[in-house]
Each structure stands twice: as structure tokens, then as C-alpha cells.
Amino acid sequence: MAGSPVQVTGTVLTTRRVDAYHALTVVAPGIADRYRPGHFVTVAVGGPTTSMLTRRAFAIHDVKPDYGGTVELVFTVRGAGTAWLADLRARDTLDLVGPLGRPFPLPRDPCTCVLVGGEYGSASLFSLGDALQQRGCRIDFVLGAAGADRVFGALRARRMGETTTLTTEDGSLGMRGRVTDVLPGVIADARADVVYACGPMDMLRGVTAVAAEFDIPVQVAVEERMACGIGVCMTCVVPVIGDDGVTRMVRACTDGPVFRGERVRFDDVGTIPFDALGAPGGRHA
């Protein structure tokens, strides 16, 4: 469980466009203090009389100490809720709950880490990179997306990482292809000890498979649809193998969003695996 999340009414400090994405900086002191890389926040959209009942969950991109603490969210407009968020202006208020979820575990000793981000999933990797570097880790970035304008944070990655490899599916930036095409080379060159990944589910599946080939641990942050973000609605479940070897439908919000990649049954996401605990017609423990 993530320390203790708080609900705050934050004031929007700045809004900006970053390539194909929107970035929103909100003054939210209680959340900024408690933040660890990998945490996320949920926001209520549509104002006080909204007809949109579910909260929208976003990874925290950046936390700064200004004005008592600010958090920055990166998102893309997908529907009415995110369109409302994109229309917010400075000094508007926003209802946030956070920080939520289990953050990225950090290695005890300095090691070499490859950070893999797909689309705007890379937003949560930079604060992780900072934390890793403070512990003396070497970090290498692999960022990918469909096109150049959808690769988030390439500049910052170049500044921070020992190496940065970019991929786009249309070849408009970096190498043509997917992150999983270049990842084996990056892991081999850097002699990486661990992989951190955040992005769409099929990318995480690919990254986990690559890490498994190299027999190194991989930590993935999943992006699953949520209604509440605090663990009460039970809608964001993914099949994950527990320490006892039993697959359970666990909540991405409170048990995740960060999981050990090899524990997530990516092929079974969106189904109830027949051998999961309590699966229909399955073995009842």
C-alpha cells in the first residue's frame, strides 16, 4: 500500500503542449511530498456537476518543490474527460487523489538499468532515472512510439541516459521498428542488470520476453483502465502469479501498477485464466 494517499484540490499552475501530448502542472503539496517514482494520481474530470463518474488515472511525470509541491501529468486526449483536462487553464482547480499504487522498487546497490518507455509511458521514467542515478546506477533509455511526435521526453532522455535509443514505427525518428527490436542490443551493450518498462500492454509483454531471454529482472508499470484508483472498484484487474505460484486477478491500482514482468500473464490479460484462483469451473482452493 502506498503510504497514505490524500485528496487535494490542486490549482493548475501551467499547461503546455509537448509534441502530441498535453502536460499539466498542478500545485498539490500533500501528493508531491509523498511521491515515489512509479506512483500515479487520479483526477476527477468535468467539474463539480460532472456526469463523468470515474476518475482518470495518470502517471506522475515530475514532482517539483515549488509552491509547496507540484506534480506534472502527461496525457493525450482520448475522450470527453481528457478533453476537459486539456481545456484547463492556469488557476483552474483540479481534484486529485494520490499518490497511489506501488512505486518502482529500487536496487540496493549500484547497477546498470535499462529504462524502456512506450508512447507517453516514458513520462514516469525520468523521476525513476533520477532516483537510480542518485544511487549510482548507470541508466540507458529506450523510447519508442508510432511516430516522432509521440515519442515523449527524447531530449531529457539524451541528457540523462548513458545511451538513448529511439524507435518509431514509421521511421520518422531514430530506428524504424519497435522498442523490442533494439532492446536486446541495448541490454547486451550496457550489460544491463535490470529493466524497467512503462507503456502499452503489448510492449510490456515484448519487453518482458526480451528480459527473460537475458535472464534479468524486469519491472513493468501497467496501464489498465480504472474507475477509482484506490482499490474499491475491482475493475482494473490483471492476472498475476503470486509468490505461492497461484494466479490471482489482482488490482493494478493497489497491487500495482508496478509488477515483476515475469509474474504478469500478458497473454491472458482481458481473460480469466482457467487456473486462476476462483476461476469459473476451475480448482477451488
Partner: protein, 306 residues
């Protein structure tokens, strides 16, 4: 109080405030065996509503009694345990398991479960099946633990089902469970939920809840009703109380605002105070008074045995 299935195990809400502050904590429906629930997507947002098909995911009664109930009891939460089953025997067995457990303030019967013995028709749609469940649970539950029957609005005559449940021994009624709805994603041209259909909740169903509470209270004025369905503010809660509910549960609002319960309670207290009520009981079912008559006073209330 919280509505069943909307407050998790209680631990999630306890991160924000003490669960003892809740009027009651209603658990998600507990089943005999662990259940993995339905595949994702389990949730779809609709205008002022939420469709869900979680499928009673839960650890089963053993794990519940071992881990969840003692925690709630320790925190001093008044716990209403919701139970769900596929057969009358399963409900009865659950009630028996709960009978020895300390810290059960009441048992709520989720009657919106498919009846395995009746081609999957939900119990709540059939007055006699519902009454059978209520009677056997009542018989298996300790005399000082009230049994609440939770009704579905998806019936031709909710008053008839309500009456059957009361005849079967229900001490109180809870309404409404979610009506079944559906939404289709026009981009993928497939149902939005993996399960196809799901229960609709949120302010979209509040008028339905008010109607159900109103009808049942009019027919059975002596039966306590727990009203629920789209309550997000104190005004919404007061609406259900005026229709005849003597307690109000908050469900979907918890997803939007973890502090919904204490906030709604505070708003309700203010509203009652503004209207000159000393206690909530004076407002219960007040909308039923004939037009033009003065608000009931306490003498009237005693007569109605509320």
C-alpha cells in the same frame, strides 16, 4: 453506510478516514468459494452512470472470516456482511458460517445472483425463490442479527417481491441493486464490457431508486428500508429518505470521491437542520403525506411504528 461492492475490504477507505465513522460498512458479496470474477473490461462509463460487470470477485468466505472481518471488527466498524450464492443451500451455508463469527452487525442477502437451479434466473425476480432464500438465511442467523434483503429494480412488481421477502422473514429491505444495462463501443463495434451486459449505477439510476423506495414504503410502511442508487450528495440522500428510506447507502460515488460517505452525512445533517428536523426519523417517508398537510410530528411517527 457504504453500498455492497463499493468499499472494497474497508482497508482501502481506511487510508482516507476511520471506517468507524461510517454508519455501517457493507462488504462486497461474500461467496462460499473464491471467485476470480469476470474478464476485463469490467467497467464502462455512461452519462451520469457506470456500467460494471465485476462478477463478485472475492476470496471466498474462509479468507473473509480469517482476514477481512476481524480487521473490520478491530477497527470498530459496524459490518453488514453481504452474501451471494447460486442456490438456497449456498446462502444458508454462508449464513451458518457467519452465525459464529463475531462482529457481524447484519446480514444482507444479495438476491441479484443467478439461481443455478432455475436456469440462471436471478432470485430477486421471483418472489417465491427470494422468500425461500430469506427464510432459510433468517433461520440460520442469530436472532439478534437483522437480515436485510437486497432487491433488484428489474422486476415487474417490486412491491410483490418486497412483500414475499418480508413474509419470508426479512427484517429490512435494501434497494436498489443495479439494473442491467449495456453499452456498445461504436468504434470497435463490440460491447464495451467483456461480459456484454452489466449493472448500471450512479445518478442515472436515482429516479429508479426513488420510485422503488416510494412504492415499497407506501405498501409496507412498517418495514425499514435502506435506500441506495446514485446518491452523490446530501440532497440525494434526503430524497431517498423522504421517499421512505431510513438509512442510505453510497456506492458509485465512492469511486469518484473516497470521502463521499462523511461528506454526504455532513450535507444531510445540514439539510435536516435547515428544515428544522431534530432527528432523521422525522423525515423518513415524509413525501408520502397528503398535499397541503403539515409535516408530521412525532406523535404521528410513533403511530407508524417507524
Amino acid at each position: 453506510m457504504t453500498a455492497s461492492g463499493c468499499g472494497g475490504t474497508g482497508r482501502e477507505l481506511a487510508q482516507f478516514y476511520d471506517v468507524m465513522r461510517l454508519g455501517a460498512f457493507v462488504t462486497r458479496s461474500i461467496t462460499m468459494a473464491p471467485r476470480a470474477g469476470r474478464p476485463t473490461p469490467r467497467m464502462a462509463e455512461t452519462p451520469s452512470g457506470l456500467l460494471n460487470a465485476v462478477g463478485l470477485q472475492g476470496p471466498g468466505v474462509d479468507a473473509f472470516l480469517e482476514q477481512e472481518l476481524p480487521w473490520l471488527a478491530e477497527r470498530g466498524a459496524r459490518t453488514v456482511v453481504s452474501i451471494g450464492g447460486g442456490t438456497v443451500a449456498e446462502y444458508t451455508a454462508l449464513a451458518r458460517r457467519l452465525a459464529d463469527a463475531p462482529g457481524v452487525a447484519a446480514v444482507e442477502i444479495n438476491l441479484s445472483c443467478p439461481n443455478v437451479e432455475d436456469r440462471g434466473r436471478v432470485f430477486a425476480r421471483d418472489g417465491s425463490a427470494a422468500a425461500e432464500v430469506v427464510a432459510s438465511v433468517r433461520a440460520a442467523t442469530r436472532y439478534d442479527v437483522p437480515v436485510i434483503a437486497k432487491l433488484s429494480p428489474d422486476v415487474a412488481d417490486i412491491v410483490a417481491v418486497a412483500r414475499s421477502c418480508v413474509d419470508g422473514g426479512a427484517d429490512a429491505l435494501a434497494m436498489i441493486n443495479t439494473p442491467v444495462g449495456m453499452s456498445i463501443d461504436v468504434d470497435t463495434m463490440r460491447p464495451s464490457l467483456a461480459a456484454g451486459t452489466g449493472g448500471l449505477s450512479g445518478p442515472a439510476v436515482r429516479p429508479l431508486a426513488v420510485r422503488c423506495v416510494w412504492q415499497v414504503h407506501a405498501a409496507l410502511p412498517g418495514v425499514p428500508i435502506v435506500g441506495m442508487g446514485g446518491v452523490t450528495t446530501g440532497r440525494d440522500a434526503l430524497e431517498l429518505i423522504l421517499a421512505g428510506a431510513c438509512a442510505v447507502a453510497v456506492g458509485t460515488a465512492l469511486f469518484h470521491d473516497p470521502y463521499a460517505c462523511p461528506r454526504i452525512l455532513r450535507e444531510l445533517e445540514e439539510l435536516l437542520q435547515e428544515r428544522g428536523f431534530d432527528r432523521l426519523a422525522d423525515a423518513v417517508g415524509l413525501a408520502h403525506r397528503p398535499p397541503g398537510s403539515a409535516p408530521r410530528n412525532r406523535t404521528d411517527l410513533e403511530e407508524s411504528s417507524l
